[in-house]
């Protein structure tokens, strides 16, 4: 008996991950108990029922299409953020004068809460996917610009000088000196941009939506159907985690050459 308890203790001490899993399981059990016996079923439903009815969410007409649309919005917004951010970041970062004059403006814009102008995005881009993409880009583009400017700035002048003195053309300098040097900060920027794009697109979706997931979160909330709402939110959270994880893995993989 005590030997068994000691074993468990040793396993837990050696693998904090197991204990972490235990904490998560404990939270789910607490939620299950609270939802089953203590909370009005109009507001909360137990996780077992949410999981069991995930397929019901999936079968709600329009939900798979809405998830599809949201995923597309996220993808396009992220791609646009990276492309525009890369171009602007290089244009601003490579020229000291351009950096001094425009970086404060960019930082000021980065610092303002864009959420206040969300109604303007809807006004200009309509209530369809275009406004979600535009709002996502407005959140995703700034981290890319700022990290690229920082990455280019950290470039040692001696590298540029020696490349030039060995006869490198402008393109060669970009291709073989600037780009490789920029990669770690570029991927760090991409990770931040993914967080921003997720925030922007989901905010715009929740604000107003005709066919996207925002439409269904509103629908389920108004119908007091917590089972479906929790299911949909769980699917979206899983989506966000996967996207974040993909970008984070890419960051770890591609910034390795630099550290050693």
């Amino acid at each position: 008996m005590t030997a068994g308890a000691l074993d468990i203790k040793r396993i837990l001490l050696r693998h904090p991950g197991v204990a972490r899993l235990g904490v998560i399981v404990f939270l789910f059990i607490a939620w299950e108990i609270a939802a089953r016996w203590f909370v009005d079923p109009m507001f909360l439903s137990p996780p077992s029922r949410v999981v069991a009815s995930l397929h019901r969410v999936w079968q709600t007409p329009g939900v798979p299409a809405a998830l599809h649309i949201t995923l597309w919005e996220l993808g396009i917004a992220f791609a646009l953020s990276v492309i525009i951010g890369l171009v602007v970041g290089l244009a601003v970062g490579l020229q000291p004068f351009a950096r001094r004059s425009t970086l404060p403006i960019i930082l000021l814009l980065y610092g303002t809460p864009q959420i206040t102008i969300l109604p303007l995005f809807i006004l200009y881009f309509g209530i369809g996917p275009a406004s979600k993409i535009a709002f996502g880009v407005s959140h995703g583009i700034f981290p890319i610009i700022v990290t690229i400017v920082a990455g280019v700035q950290n470039l040692k002048p001696i590298l540029l000088v020696s490349a030039r003195s060995m006869g490198a053309s402008r393109w060669h300098v970009l291709r073989y000196v600037v780009f490789p040097h920029m990669i770690p900060s570029f991927f760090a920027g991409m990770r931040l941009a993914m967080t921003g794009v997720l925030l922007g697109v989901l905010l715009a979706e929740l604000y107003v939506s005709t066919a996207g997931i925002g439409h269904f979160t509103t629908l389920f909330t108004q119908a007091f159907d917590p089972t479906k709402l929790l299911g949909l939110v769980a699917i979206l959270a899983a989506m966000a985690i996967v996207l974040n994880e993909v970008v984070r893995r890419a960051e770890v993989k591609f910034s390795r050459w630099h550290t050693n």
């Binding site: 425009t102 809460p113 959270a237």
Partner: protein
């Protein structure tokens, strides 16, 4: 910074570019609404916006919304701070707890918590309670993570040295742990404040009955564009000022 490479001429030139950029923006805005006849429903005249802004400030009709938003902000930030610092401190006392809980909090922090807004509205209704609860939840994570980082990774040498010189628990906390952890915690508090502010205005925009975010949406739905632009400018200025105050406090706290 200006003196390091380039000197005074550089910084003067870049200031000129910044000023020219802003002036050009306003001039283009003015021309677009007067000369090129852009639909005033899409872009109101800057003079009209300025007049509306003056009217809003003079009539004081913003006071109610501002009070609601600031109250929500204060309560949510207080809850996030209290919860984050207490939880973070308790966890940071044992290396094992840090290894169990830090990845858990960091994982949740990477999910866009705004997703749960519909749940919060379902639980807490459309009033201030749902904004406070959401803001407190979102603000909790950067604060708890930075508190763990601050208290948890104090150099062991310092603690051992203080102990061997006979420091009591209180002395250890007051003269070793706190000074070492404070800068990191203050950074966490600043990050927490920024995103609490964001999420409160955001949730007011999405679903609410009052507050500055709600006022903007209300005007947008009424197609009262000039007044809406004026309110947007008002809210942006308030947000920037609040963030500046917090950054200044952070810098001052770190210096001590």
């Amino acid at each position: 910074m200006a003196g390091r490479s380039g000197g005074r001429g550089w910084s003067l030139g870049s200031r000129a570019v910044q000023a020219a950029f802003l002036i050009m923006l306003v001039v283009l805005w003015y021309l677009a609404t007067t000369r090129w006849r852009v639909n005033p429903l899409l872009l109101p005249n800057p003079v009209a916006v300025l007049r509306e802004l003056g009217d809003i400030l003079r009539s004081g009709e913003f006071v109610d919304d501002l009070r609601i938003t600031l109250t929500e902000l204060a309560i949510a930030f207080a809850l996030a701070t209290a919860g984050g610092i207490v939880t973070g401190y308790v966890i940071s006392r044992a290396a094992y707890l840090i290894r169990v809980f830090e990845p858990l909090f960091a994982g949740i922090y990477s999910i866009p918590i705004i997703l749960f807004l519909p749940l919060y509205v379902l639980f807490f209704g459309l009033g201030p309670a749902s904004k406070i609860a959401l803001g407190a939840t979102i603000g909790f994570f950067p604060i708890v993570l930075n508190t763990i980082a601050g208290f948890g990774y104090v150099e062991r040498m310092l603690i051992v040295a203080a102990r061997s010189m006979g420091a009591s628990d209180y002395q250890l906390f007051r003269y070793v742990l706190l000074p070492a952890a404070l800068p990191v915690i203050l950074t966490g508090l600043r990050m927490g404040f920024t995103i609490v502010l964001l999420s409160i205005i955001g949730s007011e925009t999405i679903a609410s009955l009052a507050g500055l975010g709600h006022r903007i949406v209300h005007l947008a739905e009424g197609m009262d564009m000039a007044r809406m632009f004026a309110y947007i400018a008002f809210v942006v200025v308030i947000a920037v000022v609040l963030n500046m105050i917090v950054s200044t406090l952070e810098a001052r706290g770190k210096r001590q």
